[in-house]
Amino acid sequence: MDLQIRNLSKTYANGVHALKDVSLTIPAGMYGLLGPNGAGKSTLMRTLATLQEPDRGSVHLGDVDVLKDKERARESLGYLPQEFGVYPRESAERLLEHFAVLKGLTDRRVRRETVDALLHQVNLHDVRKQKLGGFSGGMRQRFGVAVALLGNPRLIIVDEPTAGLDPAERVRFLNLLSGLGERSVVLLSTHIVEDVAELCSRMAIIDRGTILLEGEPLRAVEALRGRIWRKVVPRGELEALERTHAVLSTRLLAGRTVVRVYAEALPDAGFELAEPGLEDVYFRVMGGHGVSRAVQPRREVAS
C-alpha cells in the first residue's frame, strides 16, 4: 500500500509558498524527508496528517482519499508532531489510555493490554505512573511515539523527532523507529542527514516547497562515487577555492579547514578522492547542482 501525493500546493496568507506542486509516491517502509528549516516539511506532514488543508492537490493512502475522507484516513494514521505538549499533571499511562479511547480502542481489556504493551515497547513502563510534567525530552518523544502507534496505524508520520535529543536518546529513538517500518508507511521528516542515512530505504529532499531529489539514499550516494574530492586547506585559501570550485562543504578539523568539492575529475593538486556520503548528496542538491528530481550526475553542466 502506497501513499500517493499528487500536485500538492499551499500558499500561506503571508505569501509564503510552502508547497509548490509536490508529487511523491511513498511505498511501505521508512521514508526520509530531508530539508532545511522552513523548507515546507512540516506543512507537508500536517497536510498528510489531515490537520491542514492544501490549496490544491490530492493525497491517497491506498484507496483512501486522505483529504476528502479524513475520518477513514485517521483510522490508519499515527502522527508524531514536531512540537507537542502533554498535560503535565497526568500520568503517562492515563493520558495514553485517553488517546487509546480516542483512537477507538474502547474495549477496556484490549485497551489495557495495548497500552501496557506499548509502554513496554517504548520503554516507559517503569515510569508509567509518573506525571508527564517531569519527563525528559527523549521520554516525551517516546511517549509521543506510543501515541502515534496506538491502533496499529498503516501510515506513521514523524515530524523532526530527533531535534533536541541528546546523542544517546537519539540512538534509542532511531532504534525504536527502525522497528516500525516493516508493514507501514513511515514518513520521517528531519533536517539531520544522518537520521535518513541510517534509517531510510527511500528519501526525498525538499527545499522552499519543491522536491529537489527523490530516490534511494544508497544509490544517490553511489552515484557520487569518484566525484567527491577532499582537501585540507589553511583558512586564508578558502575564499579563493570557493570561487573556482564547486565546494559542497567545509569543516573545521583541528584548526584547519577540510573542504569537499564536487568534480568529475581531480580538480586540483592536493585534492584526494573521498568516500561519498549522504551529506554530499544533500549539499550538492541544496547547492543548486542538482537539476532534476532523479540523480543524474552525468548530465551535469559544470559551473
Binding site: Y87, V110, N123, R172
Partner: protein, 1196 residues
C-alpha cells in the same frame, strides 16, 4: 538604568498593541453611557447636578468596576509573558536584577493603565459637555473636581488592581491569573457593599473591605445632602483616606511579597517546589523490534459513546483540578457563611426552610446565582482551549474521532461539573438544616429547583459558552462576548431589549412557595426554555461545523471546511433546530404579542401620561360615592380563572346634580358591559386607556342613589412576556378586587410620579405626594365606607375568606360557597383568599379570632392569637372600641414577610410564619410587636383614615407602631420594650442624610416606621402616657368614622398641642414641626464616695441641638431644656444594670458639668440614657463611670 530600559521597552511593546487603546475607547464609552444612565434621571428629578463632584465620584467608582478589565491584560502580560512564551531563559540570564526586572515591568503596566483610565474623567467630561443634558442640570466646570476623582478614586483603584494582578500573574506564571485578580476584586467589592455593609450593617467594616471605594461613596450618597453633593470635592478625608491607605498598603505588600518570592529560575524546578514536579529519570534503554499488538479499533455507536465518556471524564477531572474545584469548595463555604444572614429578618431568626435556601441559591441577582454563569464561561474557555494550550491538540486532532466527539464530551464534562456544584450546594443546605434541627426535608423542592429549573438554566448557558468559544476561536474575545451576552440579562431592558425573546436564556421569571408551589409560572418558563434549547442546538450545529481541528489559516478556510462538514444529518439537525426556533419562538410571540399586547416601559409610561393628559381635567369633577358593594365571586383555583359579578351602590353626596359618570376599567381582566338602573349612555369609550364616560339620564340628584352592575372575568389565555399574574392559583389564591373592579372617577394613582419622567412627557410639575397646603381639596378623596356583602365560591377542599361575618357556608355542585357580610361599613380595600387552610380559633370578649394558615406552617399561629388578644385589650382601653365582631389573620402565598391590615382581615405572607423569635438571642418578640402593629392599624388606618397627602404615614404607620410599643410594654414589661426599641434603633446604623422634612410632612419609610414612633414615645415619656393617648382618643372620636374631611398630620399636631404642658411645647415643636437632631454626649462620668455610703456622680456632657432643612442647611438652635439623666448600677449579666437615678435635668448647649448623688455605687451614667431624643449617635449618651482616684492617677 536597567529599570529604565526595561520600563521603556515594556511600555513601548505594550503601547503598540491594540488592547490598551481598545479598552480606552470602551471605557470612555462605558463611562459616558453610565453617566447618562445613572445620573441624568436623578439630576432631572431634582437631585444633585449632573457634573457635581459627587456625581463624578459615583460614575468613577462604576468606571473602576468596569476598569478592572483594563490592567488585567497589561499586568498579566508584563508579568508572565516571558515564561509563557518560553523566553524566560534569555531574560533570566541577563545581568538584570530582580528589582529592575519586576519593577520595570510593573511600572510600565501601571503607567499604561494610568493612561488608559484617564478615559474615566474624559468620559465624564464628554458626558457633561456633549449634547444631551439640559444646561440647567450642569454646574460650573470645575477642573479640580475631575482631578480629585481621578486622584482619589480612579488612580488608586488602578494601582491596587494592577499590583494585585501583576503579583498573581508573576507568582502563578500565567497571564490569565490576572483576570482572577479582577474577579477577586469585583467579588470583594460586592461582598463589602452588599453583605458587610448592607446586610450585616457593619458600615465601618464594609467601607474598609471594599477595595474600590464603592461603599464609601454609597454611604456618602445616603448621608450627604444635595448641597454637599454639589459643592464638596471628594478628598482623602476620613473613610475614603482609611480605605485608600489600607488598600494601597495591601497592594504594596502584595508587590513586596512577589519580589521576595520571585526567582530567576526555571519554573517548576526551583528549590522548595521540587515536590510538585519530580524529574523522572530515564530508564535504561532496551532496544528491540517494535511489535504493536494488532488491535483493530472498534468504530461504531458504542465506541463513540465511550469516547464521549472518556473526554467528559477527562474534562471533569481537569475542571475539578482547576476552577471547578475551587468553586466546589468556595461556593458551599460561602453559603455556610451567609446562611445566618439569609435566615433572619431584622435580626429575627427564620426557619431554615428549603424554599428559603433554594431561593437564595437560585436567585439570579444574588452572589451564588451570579457566580455560576461566570464560572461556566471561564470553564468553557478553558475546556475549548485545553488541548491547544497544552500543545496536545495535534496528537488529539489526528485521532480517528468525529469532530463532534470532543465537543459533546466537553459539554458533558462541563455539565457534570455544574451538577456536582448543585449537589454540593444541596448537601450544604441539608447540612445547615440538620445543624439547626430542621427535620421537614423536601427532596422534591431541591430536585425541582436546583436540579430542574436552575440546572436547565446553567446547562443552556454552558452550551452557549462552549459554542461561542468554538465560534469566536479567540479565548479572551470569547470571554468578552459571553460576558456581554450574560450581562444582557441584567442590562438588556435598559438597552431597549425588553422582549425576552432577544435575550439568551431569559424567561418571564418564576418563584416557588409552600402554598402554591410554582404557581402559574412553569408554562411560560418551559416554552421559553424550549425556545432557548432550540437556539442552543442551532449553536451546537454551528460549533460542530466550525470546530477547529488542526491548523486553519483563516475564516475563509473555516467556512470551506464547514461546507464540507455539512453532511445530511448535520444539515437536518440544523434545519430541525431552526424550525424549532421559529416554531416555538412563533408560539411565544403569539402569546406575548398577540394574545397579550406587548408594551415597552416607554409605551407604558406614555399610556399613563396620555391618561393624565386626556382625563386629568376630571380629577376634581364631583362623582357619586360608593356606599355598598355586593359581589358574587366564582374562584376556580385549579383553572386559574375567576368571575366577579356584582353591584355598586353609588350615592350623590354633593350639593349638585351629577350628569356624567367616569368609570375606570382595569387591565388584565375582561369587563363586560356595565348595567345601570337608569339610562346611562356611554358618551366616551376609551378601551386603550380603560376609561369610559357615561351620561346619566336623568342626572343623579343630591342624595340620590344609583346602582351599577358589572361582570369581570379573570381568565388569562396563554402567557405574557413578564411576571405571570399569580393571584388565582391552585392553592393560596389572593385576589385584590380593587385592582380588577370598575373604579369610579379619575384615577390619580395612574399618573406618573417621578419629576423627571413627568417633565419628559410634558406633564405639569407637581410633588410626588400632595403637600399639606393642597390638602383641602383632597380631604374627601378616598373617604367613605361601604356596606360589603359577598358570596365567594371556590373548589371543594378549599376555604374562601373575605371581610365580614361568615353568614352561611354550603356546598353546591361540587363547589364550596361562603357568604360574608360586614356588620359595620368598611373601606373599599380588601382581599379575597382561597386555599386549603387550617384554622385556629379563639375569642376575645365578643370578637371571634381566627388564624387561617397553611397546614404546614403552624409557626407563630399561637403568637398571632396572643398578639390579637393582647392588642385588643390595650387598644380598646386606650383608643376606643373595635368596630367588628371578627378579627382574622390570613396567610397567603408569596416570598417575603409582608403583612397588610385591611378591614377585619390581616394578610400575612408565608415568610412571617417562618420567623422564630423564640430563638432570637436578643430576647425580643419582634413578630409579636408586628402583630400588635397590624392590629393597631384597625384603629390607625382602618378607622381613622388620613387624607392622601404628606404626613399621612405619621397617622397610620407611626401611630400603629407607637400603639404596638404600648401593647408590648403592657404584655412583656418595660425591659422588653427597651430591648425592642434598641432593635428598632439599629436603623440609625444605616447611613442616611440628616436633611429632611419635619415629621408632620413625613413620607419616607424611616420617618413612618422609626422616627415617628420614636417621637411619639419621647413625647409620651415627657408629657405622660395618659395625656398623649387621650389626644389620640380624641382624634379617633373625631375622625374614626372615615367620613370627610379626612384628617392630616396637622390635626394630630393640634390635638397633641392641646394636651402638652407649656414647658414641653418646645419639645413637641422640635419633634414634629422641625427636623431636629440632638447631639448629646457624655464625655466623662466620675464618681466619688459621699457621706452615708452614697456616691456623688459628676458628668461632663456636651449638648447641641440642630435643625436640618430639606436641602441640608444645618442651623444650630440654642438648647436649654429638660433631658433625662440616668445613673445605673453594675449589670448582672448582660445589658443595663438597675437604675439608681433617672430624672430630668436642665441641659444647655455646649459643655457643662452635671452632678447627682446616688445611694449605691454606680457603673454607668449619662444623659438621655433611654434615647428618647432623636440622636444619630445614641451610643455615646452614656459612659462607664470612673472613680475620682482613677482619674487622678490617670493624670499623673
Amino acid at each position: 538604568m536597567m529599570l529604565r530600559e526595561i520600563f521603556r521597552y515594556e511600555l513601548g511593546l505594550q503601547a503598540r498593541r491594540v488592547t490598551p487603546w481598545l479598552s480606552f475607547v470602551l471605557l470612555l464609552g462605558f463611562v459616558y453611557q453610565v453617566a447618562n444612565e445613572a445620573q441624568i434621571e436623578q439630576a432631572r428629578d431634582g437631585g444633585y447636578l449632573f457634573n457635581s463632584p459627587f456625581a463624578l465620584g459615583v460614575v468613577s467608582v462604576l468606571g473602576s468596576l468596569m476598569g478592572l478589565l483594563v490592567p488585567a491584560p497589561l499586568a498579566g502580560d508584563a508579568a508572565a509573558r516571558d515564561v509563557q512564551l518560553r523566553m524566560h531563559p534569555l531574560f533570566y540570564t541577563t545581568p538584570v536584577g530582580r528589582t529592575a526586572y519586576l519593577g520595570g515591568r510593573f511600572l510600565a503596566a501601571f503607567a499604561l493603565t494610568a493612561l488608559v483610565v484617564l478615559a474615566v474623567p474624559l468620559g465624564l467630561l464628554l458626558a457633561a459637555y456633549a449634547p444631551g443634558p439640559e444646561p440647567e442640570l450642569l454646574g460650573p466646570l470645575r477642573p479640580a473636581a475631575y482631578a480629585s476623582v481621578y486622584l482619589c478614586i480612579t488612580l488608586p483603584n488602578a494601582f491596587v488592581a494592577c499590583a494585585l494582578m501583576f503579583s498573581l500573574a508573576v507568582l502563578s506564571r500565567r497571564a490569565m491569573t490576572a483576570y482572577l485578580g479582577a474577579v477577586l476584586l469585583f467579588a470583594t467589592t460586592l461582598a463589602g457593599r452588599i453583605y458587610v455593609a448592607d446586610k450585616l450593617k457593619h458600615w465601618g467594616a464594609g467601607k474598609l473591605v471594599d477595595p474600590l471605594g464603592f461603599t464609601v461613596l454609597n454611604e456618602l450618597s445616603k448621608s450627604w445632602t444635595p448641597g454637599e453633593k454639589n459643592t464638596q470635592l471628594l478628598e482623602l478625608a476620613e473613610a475614603l483616606a482609611a480605605n485608600r491607605l489600607l488598600w494601597l498598603a495591601l497592594a504594596a505588600a502584595a508587590l513586596a511579597f512577589t519580589h521576595l518570592r520571585f526567582r530567576f529560575a526555571h519554573p517548576g524546578v526551583e528549590a522548595g517546589r521540587s515536590r510538585r514536579a519530580t524529574v523522572v529519570l530515564s530508564p535504561p534503554a532496551r532496544i528491540g523490534p517494535i511489535t504493536v499488538p494488532p488491535v483493530r479499533p472498534a468504530p461504531g455507536a458504542v465506541a463513540r459513546t465511550r469516547q464521549v465518556r472518556a473526554v467528559a471524564a477527562q474534562s471533569l477531572r481537569a475542571l475539578i483540578a482547576g476552577p471547578g474545584g475551587v468553586a466546589l469548595v468556595l461556593m458551599p463555604l460561602f453559603l455556610l457563611l451567609v446562611a445566618p444572614e439569609i435566615m433572619q429578618h431584622m435580626g429575627v431568626p427564620k426557619a431554615p426552610s428549603t424554599r428559603l435556601l433554594t431561593g437564595f441559591i437560585s436567585a439570579n441577582g444574588d452572589l451564588l446565582g451570579m457566580v455560576m454563569p461566570l464560572l461556566v464561561i471561564f470553564c468553557a474557555g478553558g475546556l475549548v482551549w485545553r488541548e491547544r494550550e497544552a500543545g496536545v491538540s495535534e496528537l488529539a486532532d489526528a485521532a480517528p474521532t468525529p469532530d463532534w466527539v470532543p465537543f459533546l464530551g466537553k459539554l458533558a464534562g462541563l455539565a457534570l461539573m455544574v451538577v456536582l456544584l448543585q449537589a454540593a450546594l444541596t448537601a450544604t443546605s441539608l447540612l445547615i438544616q440538620v445543624w439547626l434541627g430542621h427535620t421537614a426535608f423536601e427532596p422534591r423542592v431541591y430536585l425541582s429547583v436546583l436540579f430542574g429549573l436552575k440546572l436547565a438554566d446553567h446547562l443552556l448557558f454552558a452550551l452557549l459558552a462552549l459554542g461561542v468559544h468554538v465560534l469566536v476561536d479567540q479565548k479572551y474575545a470569547g470571554h468578552a462576548v459571553l460576558l456581554i451576552v450574560y450581562g444582557l440579562r441584567f442590562f438588556g431592558p435598559s438597552l431597549g431589549l425588553e422582549d425576552p425573546l432577544w435575550v439568551y436564556g431569559s424567561d418571564p421569571g418564576w418563584e416557588y412557595n409552600d402554598l402554591s408551589g410554582f404557581g402559574p409560572h412553569l408554562t411560560a418558563w418551559a416554552w421559553f426554555k424550549a425556545y432557548w434549547a432550540a437556539w442552543a442546538l442551532l449553536l451546537a450545529v454551528a460549533a460542530r461545523l466550525l470546530w477547529v481541528r488542526g491548523r486553519v489559516s483563516g475564516p475563509r478556510e473555516r467556512l470551506l471546511l464547514a461546507r464540507r462538514r455539512l453532511t445530511r444529518p448535520v444539515a437536518l439537525t440544523g434545519a430541525l433546530a431552526g424550525a424549532a426556533v421559529l416554531g416555538v419562538g412563533g408560539f411565544i410571540a403569539y402569546n406575548t404579542h398577540v394574545l397579550h399586547p406587548f408594551r415597552t416601559r416607554a409605551q407604558l409610561e406614555e399610556a399613563r401620561a396620555e391618561y393624565e393628559r386626556r382625563y386629568g381635567q376630571y380629577a376634581r369633577l364631583p362623582q357619586p360615592r360608593l356606599t355598598s358593594v355586593r359581589l358574587h365571586v366564582e374562584l376556580h383555583p385549579r383553572h386559574r380563572r375567576a368571575e366577579l359579578r356584582g353591584t355598586y351602590t353609588l350615592v350623590n353626596r354633593g350639593r349638585e346634580a351629577m350628569a356624567t359618570l367616569h368609570v375606570g376599567l382595569a387591565e388584565g381582566v375582561e369587563t363586560g358591559p356595565l348595567r345601570f338602573d337608569r339610562t346611562a349612555t356611554p358618551s366616551h369609550m376609551d378601551a386603550e386607556l380603560g376609561h369610559s364616560v357615561y351620561t346619566l339620564q336623568p342626572p343623579l340628584q343630591p342624595g340620590e342613589a344609583l346602582e351599577l352592575g358589572f361582570e369581570v372575568r379573570f381568565a388569562p389565555r396563554g402567557f405574557t412576556h413578564g411576571w405571570a399574574d399569580a393571584s388565582v392559583v391552585r392553592n393560596g389564591t389572593y385576589v385584590l378586587p380593587r385592582r380588577w373592579l370598575p373604579a369610579i372617577g379619575y384615577q390619580e394613582g395612574r399618573e406618573l410620579n417621578e419629576a423627571g419622567v413627568r417633565r419628559a412627557h410634558g406633564l405639569a410639575p407637581r410633588p410626588p405626594i400632595p403637600t399639606l397646603e393642597d390638602s383641602e381639596g383632597l380631604r374627601e378623596l378616598g373617604a367613605g365606607r361601604i356596606a360589603f356583602d359577598a358570596v365567594v365560591g371556590t373548589d371543594a377542599g378549599q376555604v374562601a375568606v373575605a371581610p365580614g361575618a361568615l353568614r352561611r357556608e354550603w356546598t353546591e355542585s361540587g363547589r364550596r360557597y361562603f357568604h360574608y357580610v360586614t356588620d359595620v361599613p368598611i373601606s373599599h380595600d380588601y382581599a379575597l383568599y382561597s386555599a386549603a387552610y387550617a384554622v385556629r380559633e379563639a375569642r376575645w370578649r365578643d370578637v371571634a379570632l381566627q388564624v387561617f394558615h397553611h397546614p404546614g406552617h403552624p409557626g407563630n399561629v399561637e403568637r398571632i392569637l396572643h398578639g390579637m388578644q393582647a392588642s385588643l385589650d390595650f387598644l380598646t382601653e386606650q383608643f376606643g372600641p373595635y368596630p367588628h365582631r371578627q378579627l382574622r389573620f390570613v396567610e397567603h402565598a408569596g416570598e417575603g414577610i409582608g403583612l397588610h391590615s385591611a378591614p377585619v382581615n390581616v394578610s400575612y405572607k408565608e415568610g412571617f410564619s417562618q420567623l422564630q423569635s423564640e430563638a432570637d438571642p436578643r430576647e425580643v418578640d419582634f413578630p409579636f410587636a408586628v402583630v400588635a402593629h397590624e392590629v393597631a392599624h384597625k384603629w390607625w388606618g382602618n378607622q381613622l383614615k388620613p387624607a392622601p397627602v404628606v404626613g399621612a404615614p405619621l397617622l397610620n404607620e407611626s401611630l400603629s407602631w407607637y400603639s404596638a410599643l404600648g401593647v408590648v410594654e403592657r404584655t412583656y414589661g418595660r425591659a422588653h420594650l427597651e430591648r425592642l426599641l434598641a432593635v428598632m434603633r439599629l436603623e440609625y446604623l444605616t447611613p442616611r442624610s440628616r436633611a429632611g422634612v419635619p415629621l408632620l410632612q413625613a413620607v419616607e419609610w424611616f420617618h413612618a416606621y422609626r422616627k415617628g414612633p420614636f417621637a411619639m414615645f419621647a413625647l409620651r415619656e415627657y408629657v405622660g402616657e395618659a395625656r398623649v393617648n387621650g389626644a389620640l382618643r380624641t382624634m379617633m372620636e373625631k375622625y374614626g368614622a372615615g367620613q370627610p374631611p379626612l384628617p392630616t398630620s396637622l390635626d394630630l399636631y393640634r390635638e397633641l398641642q392641646a394636651v402638652t404642658p407649656r414647658e414641653q411645647q418646645g419639645l413637641l415643636h422640635d419633634l414634629f414641626a422641625a427636623n431636629t437632631y440632638w447631639e448629646l454626649k457624655t464625655k466623662r462620668a466620675t464618681v466619688e464616695p459621699a457621706e452615708g455610703g452614697a456616691w456623688r456622680v459628676s458628668l461632663d456632657v456636651v449638648a447641641r441641638k440642630v435643625v436640618v432643612d430639606e436641602v441640608g442647611h444645618l442651623s444650630e438652635v440654642p438648647m436649654d431644656e429638660p433631658v433625662e439623666l440616668g445613673v445605673y448600677a453594675a449589670a448582672e449579666g448582660e445589658g443595663q444594670g438597675e437604675p439608681l437615678h433617672l430624672g430630668m435635668t436642665r441641659v444647655r448647649s455646649g459643655e457643662q458639668r452635671l452632678t447627682v448623688t446616688v445611694p449605691k455605687r454606680p457603673a454607668r451614667a449619662g444623659i438621655d440614657p433611654r434615647h428618647l431624643l432623636i440622636d444619630v449617635n445614641p451610643e455615646d449618651n452614656t459612659v462607664d463611670t470612673k472613680t475620682e482616684d482613677a482619674v487622678l492617677i490617670g493624670r499623673h
